[in-house]
Symmetry: C2
Subunit: 321 residues, 2 copies
C-alpha cells in the first residue's frame, strides 16, 4: 500500500496556501495565491477546490487520505459552520464544510486558523512534545490557540483562545470586537503602525517618517528595520508592544499555568526586537513557579505553519496520528 499524505489548506484574508503534507509533517509540495475574498464566496470555493486538485496531481506514489482547512474565523466545531469572521464577512452562518465536502472525495476537517497553527506547532514545531501550551499569532490582529493535555481547548462554542481580546488597558484603544484596550490593539502589526502614527509629531519620529515617505507609508516592516538599526523611536514602539505582550502572557500563565507560550504570525519575524522584554514583563507579573517555568519561544514553522496545522487536523480526524 502506498504511503499516505494529506492536504492542508490555509485560507487567509489575503492569501490562500495549499500544501501536501506527509504523516510526519513534511511539506511535500505547496502553492500560494491571493485569496481575492472580494470576488465572492463561490469564486473562492472554486479556487480552493482547484488548488486541492492541482496539489494532488503533483504528488506521485502516495495516497491522499484527507483534507484539512484552516479558516480565519470562529467555526462551530461539530458542524463546520462559520459563526464569526472579520475577514470573510459574507461567510457567517455558511456551512463551509458541507459546501466543500460535497465536491471532494476525501474526508474534510475544518478548524480555526490560529487553532490549526497551534496544533501544527505542537506537532512538529516549537511545541513538539509539549502537552500544555498557548500559541499567539501576531499579525494584522492577534490570534490564539490553547492546547491542554495535548488537546485543543475549543470552549463550549468554539470561541476559546481569543488571547488577542483579553483587556490590557481598560480605557484603551477601541477594538473591532466592541471592547476597549484589547491585547490585539497593542501587540499587532497594525498596533505598531497606529502607535507610530500617534507619535508622529515627536521629533524622534523624523527618521522613520522620512524612510516611509510620510505617515501613509508607515509599516511594521519599516519600524522593525529601523529598530534594528538602533532608531530610538522605533525601539520605543517595540518596547511598548513588549510590555503589553508581557501583561497578556502573565494573565494566561496565572490562569492556566501551562508549559510554553509560542509566538507566531508575521510579526514574530521581529521577535528578536520584543520577545525578551515581553518575557521580562511577564516574569514581573506572574507567580514565580509558573512564570519561570514557562518557556517563551518563537514559532518554528513560519509560513508553512498554517498548512501543516491544517494537515494535522486532517490526520487527527481520520485517526492516522
Amino acid at each position: 500500500m502506498p504511503l499516505q499524505y494529506v492536504i492542508g489548506v490555509d485560507l487567509g484574508g489575503t492569501n490562500l496556501k495549499v500544501g501536501a503534507v506527509s504523516t510526519k509533517g513534511e511539506v511535500l509540495s505547496s502553492a500560494e495565491m491571493p485569496s481575492d475574498v472580494k470576488d465572492g464566496r463561490p469564486a473562492l470555493l472554486k479556487k480552493i477546490l482547484n488548488a486541492i486538485e492541482e496539489t494532488r496531481h503533483k504528488i506521485k506514489g502516495k495516497r491522499l487520505s484527507g483534507i484539512g482547512l484552516g479558516v480565519p474565523g470562529i467555526i462551530a466545531p461539530e458542524t463546520g459552520t462559520v459563526i464569526q469572521s472579520p475577514n470573510l464577512t459574507g461567510w457567517v452562518n455558511f456551512n463551509i464544510k458541507n459546501a466543500l465536502a460535497d465536491k471532494l472525495a476525501w474526508p474534510l476537517y475544518i478548524e480555526n486558523d490560529a487553532n490549526a497553527f497551534a496544533l501544527g506547532e505542537g506537532w512538529v514545531g516549537a511545541a513538539a512534545g509539549i502537552r500544555n501550551f498557548c500559541c499567539l499569532t501576531l499579525g494584522t490582529g492577534v490570534g490564539g490557540g490553547i492546547v491542554l493535555n495535548g488537546n485543543l481547548w475549543h470552549g463550549v462554542d468554539g470561541y476559546a483562545g481569543e488571547v488577542g481580546h483579553v483587556v490590557v488597558e481598560p480605557d484603551g484603544v477601541p477594538c473591532a470586537c466592541g471592547s476597549w484596550g484589547c491585547l490585539e490593539r497593542y501587540v499587532s502589526a497594525s498596533a505598531l503602525v497606529r502607535m507610530a502614527r500617534e507619535g508622529k509629531d515627536d521629533k524622534s519620529a523624523a527618521p522613520l517618517l522620512k524612510s516611509c515617505g510620510g505617515v501613509d507609508g508607515l509599516s511594521a516592516k519599516a519600524i522593525a528595520e529601523l529598530a534594528r538599526q538602533g532608531d530610538l523611536f522605533c525601539i520605543g514602539l517595540f518596547m511598548r508592544l513588549a510590555r503589553y505582550l508581557g501583561i497578556g502572557m502573565a494573565g494566561v500563565i496565572n490562569l492556566l499555568n501551562i508549559e510554553m507560550l509560542v509566538i507566531g504570525g508575521g510579526l514574530s519575524k521581529a521577535s528578536d526586537l520584543f520577545l525578551a522584554s515581553a518575557r521580562e514583563e511577564m516574569l514581573k507579573r506572574s507567580f514565580k513557579v509558573p512564570g519561570h517555568g514557562v518557556k517563551v519561544v518563537p514559532a518554528k514553522l513560519g509560513d508553512n505553519g498554517g498548512i501543516i496545522g491544517a494537515a494535522y487536523v486532517a490526520l487527527k480526524g481520520i485517526g492516522a496520528i
Copy 2:
C-alpha cells in the same frame, strides 16, 4: 454495610471549619473555630486532628471513608506539599499531607481552598451539572478555580486558576504577588476599603465615614450597608468594583469560552450590589456568543462551600463519586 460519609476540612487564615458530609453532599454536622495561625504549625495541625476526631464522634451509624482538606495556598497536586501561601507563611515547602496522614486512619486528600470551593459548587451548588465553569471567591483577596470537561484544571504546577492576579489596570495598585493592577486589588473586600479610603476627602464620603467612626473603622460590610440605603459614594465604590470584575470575567470568557461564572466568597453576600453591573461590563467586552451564553451567578453553598468542596475532593479521591 452502613452508609459512608467523609469529613471536609476548610483551613482558612482566620477560621478552621470541619464538617461531616454525606455522599450526596449533605452536611451532617459541622464546627467552626479560630485557626489561630500565629500559634504555629504544630498547634494548628493538632487542632485539625482534634476537630476531625470530634466530628467523627458526632456521627453515628455511618462509616467514615476519607478526609478532604482545603488549604489557602498553592499545593503540589501529586505530593501534597504547600508551595506558596500568603496566609500560612511558615508552611511553605511543608508536606501537609504526610504530616497529617501519618496520624489518620483514613485516606487524606489535599486541595487548594478556592479549587475545593469550585468543586463543591460544581457538585451540589450553583454549577451542579455544569462541566465547564470558573469560580471566583471574592474575600480579603480573590481566589479562583477552573473546571474544564468536569475536571479541575490544576495547570502543570498546581498554580492554575489565579483569576485574582490577571492584570486589569497595567499601572494600577501594587499587588502582594509582585505585579500591579491585579484584579484582586479592585474586586476584594480590602479593595473596597482601600477605594473608600482613597476617596475619603470627597464630600460625598462623609456619611460612610460618620457611620464607621472615621477612616480606621471602614469595612466592606459598612460600605455594602450604606450602598443598600442609597448612599451614592458607596454605590460608586461598588460600580467601580463591578467594572473591573466585568473586565476580568470578559478575559476569562474570551480565553476559555466556558458555560458559567460562579461568584463566591464573603463579598458575594453583597452580589446584589455589583453582579448585574459586572455582567453588563463583561458583555461589552466579550464576544457575543460566549458572552451571552455564559451564566453569571452567585455561589450557592455559602459558608459550607469549603467543607463541601473538601468533602468532594475526598469522595473523588476514594472513587466514591
